[in-house]
């Protein structure tokens, strides 16, 4: 399978990876490909670079879905057969919207101002994408995951939320004595009483009362949450969903990607493609019975350049070339090793380290030759 097949055959493509590897750019480029090839595509993103956001028509958070107009495409020399929309997700806003939609009016403000709720809604990264997936799964979607180093938060969000909302735990927290200062529990059990006094000292009862209050206020919503979470989980593992892992060839980042890939396998999530971004090309002459040019070639290159350029500058240009060769060689060794550890049949494509910002539609389309081996038919 190629990345082209992958976009053509799936409704949802999720771009996952650790921070700073270019997930958003890859997601936008895949969605643009879909649009050019005649699909109705939407790219959901969390935190795009400002200029990329602007070229996708996203000026502000929570502004809803924006369809990119035909004029904008034309101005960039593109003629899509389908459509491309973009949407920026605001996690906190999404939770608030959910509460506002489902909570009874009298509980609403209590929930929204609850400190524990505020903490929760900020720390469960990834939860909103599932709601978004649920609403938009009829379309071809390219989702861009949160820019967290622990991209697993995203994959595990449904289960973590489900665990967290586990009825047994909730029941425990909403017991009346909990919010009443735990006095009943203290009386019941001496050890627990001692523990609770210490924990109160260590953390303050205020926090605990807030947790309890949160669960009491939210209890009506849990049924709803659980259904949605189940549904999101289902969609994530559906045959129409593909996870694309984005990584750079740096040692640590590849290490994260390796971990992520094995974790996806363990979670039965469908890893279907890998994009290695910001890869340095290695020059391989492929003749003279050798395929590497290393530091030993410095003098040769330098002499060659010296015929037309001053010796000092020729030396610097040659040194620069050799520097990049060293970098590229290290990367290709690591990439080779990384590929060996991937499940069979997962396509891996390399995107070069462009020395320019990729932020407009034309430059996103420029990535297509690397991602798909060709430009879109349109």
């Amino acid at each position: 399978m190629t990345l082209g097949d992958l976009v053509a055959r799936h409704q949802i493509v999720i771009s996952a990876g650790s921070g700073g590897v270019g997930k958003t750019t890859v997601a936008a480029s895949l969605a643009l490909w879909g649009a050019l090839e005649g699909r109705r595509a939407v790219v959901l993103t969390i935190d795009p670079a400002r200029r990329l956001a602007t070229s996708l028509g996203l000026e502000s958070l929570g502004s809803g879905e924006r369809t990119i107009s035909a004029e904008v495409f034309r101005a960039q020399g593109l003629a899509p057969r389908g459509t491309l929309a973009a949407m920026m997700l605001d996690q906190k806003g999404a939770w608030d919207a959910l509460v506002e939609r489902h909570a009874p009016p009298e509980a609403r403000d209590r929930i929204l101002t609850n400190r524990f709720y505020q903490h929760l809604s900020q720390s469960f990264a990834g939860s909103y994408e599932y709601m978004a997936i649920e609403q938009l799964c009829a379309l071809a979607i390219v989702v861009d995951t949160p820019p967290t180093r622990h991209a697993l938060d995203f994959l595990e969000a449904p289960r973590r939320i489900a665990d967290f909302l586990d009825r047994k735990i909730i029941k425990w927290f909403v017991r009346p004595y909990f919010s009443a200062g735990w006095s009943a529990l203290r009386a019941m059990n001496r050890t627990a009483g001692f523990l609770l006094r210490r924990l109160e000292q260590a953390t303050g009862i205020a926090a605990l009362a807030e947790i309890s209050d949160f669960f009491s206020s939210m209890s009506g919503l849990f049924e709803n949450f659980q259904t949605r979470i189940d549904r999101a989980h289902e969609i994530l593992r559906a045959p129409g969903t593909a996870l694309v892992l984005v990584s750079s060839p740096e040692e640590q980042v590849l290490g994260d990607a390796e971990y992520l890939s094995s974790k996806m396998a363990a979670l039965r999530m469908p890893l279907k493609g890998v994009v290695l971004n910001r890869v340095h090309a290695e020059f391989r002459p492929g003749r003279r019975g050798r395929d590497e040019i290393g530091p030993e070639e410095l003098e040769h290159v330098s002499a060659l350049l010296g015929q037309t350029i001053g010796a000092a500058e020729a030396g610097e240009l040659a040194a620069n070339f050799v520097d990049y060769q060293a970098l590229a060689r290290g990367e290709s060794l690591r990439i080779e090793q990384f590929r060996g550890g991937l499940p069979r049949g997962v396509p891996v494509v390399n995107v070069p380290n462009f020395s320019r910002d990729v932020h407009d539609l034309a430059s996103l389309a420029g990535m297509h030759t690397h991602l798909f081996g060709t430009r879109a038919a349109a």
Binding site: T148, T191, R198, T203, G204, A281, T308, A314, Y324, Q325
Partner: protein, 324 residues
């Protein structure tokens, strides 16, 4: 001013994922050690890369020496909480009953910010610990989690101080906040790349550190900066040369040319974003570390960066007269 900031005891190294924060933390720890300071390098959560860059085979919750004057420790919120409870509840059997109880398990999982609070608390403990009548460490370098996350950590003591009524926690949290805000003891170093997104995030973090966190920023360290070492004219000449070159040399020359254009492109991008950074941040030294062209990044590279950091500090010593 990084020179002046180096004299402080507690260093938080903060930055967006993928900017080389851990590498810079390791370089900083090496630099401090070389200057004769007894240094503790702290890794947070279950990141293990700092200690491996410093040559340790592993880390535990107890400071472990890795070189003369340098130790590493891993701080994890849950373990720190248990250690802390151990201090206030000195009965071993009771403690183990507590730790295995369901109430405790639920509590630790659910209490907002408790893990973060305990992590910073443990760092504070190490930074202020006395041994034989003097501070146990001259310098503590913390490789903080990725930016958004690390702000959550740094915010917790303040939140705890403001949330909890008078009591043990409130008092302890207040002590931690005082230390974090003290420009004589603490420095936050912001690591970034001279590219669009990292600079945007750095400016945001910088603003948050000033207000509401009120924490002293020690320096901004711009990692992996490209500096073209050849002239644009030489590159242009090279491009001309390719046209006239024989077929056997053309591929090689073209590759040389492409790498030169790449280096040139990155140098321009870096310069533009450095200018943006320098225009926005004027009261803190902005230190550049060069991009290192190596096959594999290892301890030798950490050493090299720590020398660069030192040189940058010396160059900028004059600027420090301006004060923070």
């Amino acid at each position: 001013m990084i020179g002046a900031a180096l004299d402080r005891r507690l260093h938080f190294v903060v930055g967006k994922g993928g900017v080389g924060k851990t590498t810079v933390a390791a370089a900083l720890a090496r630099l401090l050690t070389r200057r004769g300071r007894r240094t503790l390098a702290v890794e947070v959560d279950d990141e293990r890369r700092l200690s491996s860059l410093l040559g340790a085979s592993g880390t535990t919750g107890t400071p472990t020496p890795v070189a003369p004057g340098l130790a590493v420790v891993a701080v994890e919120g849950r373990a720190a909480l248990e250690e802390y409870l151990g201090l206030i509840i000195p009965v071993k059997r009771l403690l183990s009953t507590i730790f295995s109880s369901r109430i405790y398990q639920y509590f630790v999982a659910a209490a907002p910010g408790l893990k973060e609070l305990m992590t910073v608390g443990k760092i504070w403990y190490e930074a202020t610990r006395q041994e034989g009548g003097r501070p146990a460490w001259d310098a503590v370098v913390v490789d903080a989690p990725a930016t958004g996350h690390s702000l959550q950590y740094l915010r917790m003591p303040q939140a705890a101080r403001d949330t909890f009524g008078a009591g043990l926690v409130q008092r302890e949290a207040a002590k931690v906040v005082d230390l974090l805000r003290d420009a004589r003891t603490t420095a936050v170093h912001l690591v970034t790349l001279a590219e669009e997104m990292p600079v945007a995030e750095t400016l945001e973090t910088y603003a948050q550190l000033k207000d509401p966190l009120e924490m002293p920023v020690g320096s901004v360290i711009v990692n992996r900066v490209h500096h073209r070492r050849f002239s644009a004219a030489a590159l242009a000449t090279l491009q001309e040369t390719i046209k006239r070159a024989g077929a056997d040399q053309r591929a090689l020359l073209r590759a040389v040319c492409e790498r030169a254009a790449e280096e040139s492109g990155w140098s321009d991008i870096n310069a533009a974003h450095l200018a943006r950074l320098r225009a926005a941040i004027r009261d803190v030294p902005i230190v550049e570390l060069p991009f290192l062209f190596v096959e594999e990044f290892d301890r030798a590279e950490v050493e090299r960066l720590s020398r660069e950091l030192e040189a940058a500090g010396a160059d900028r010593a004059a600027v420090s007269a301006l004060g923070p």
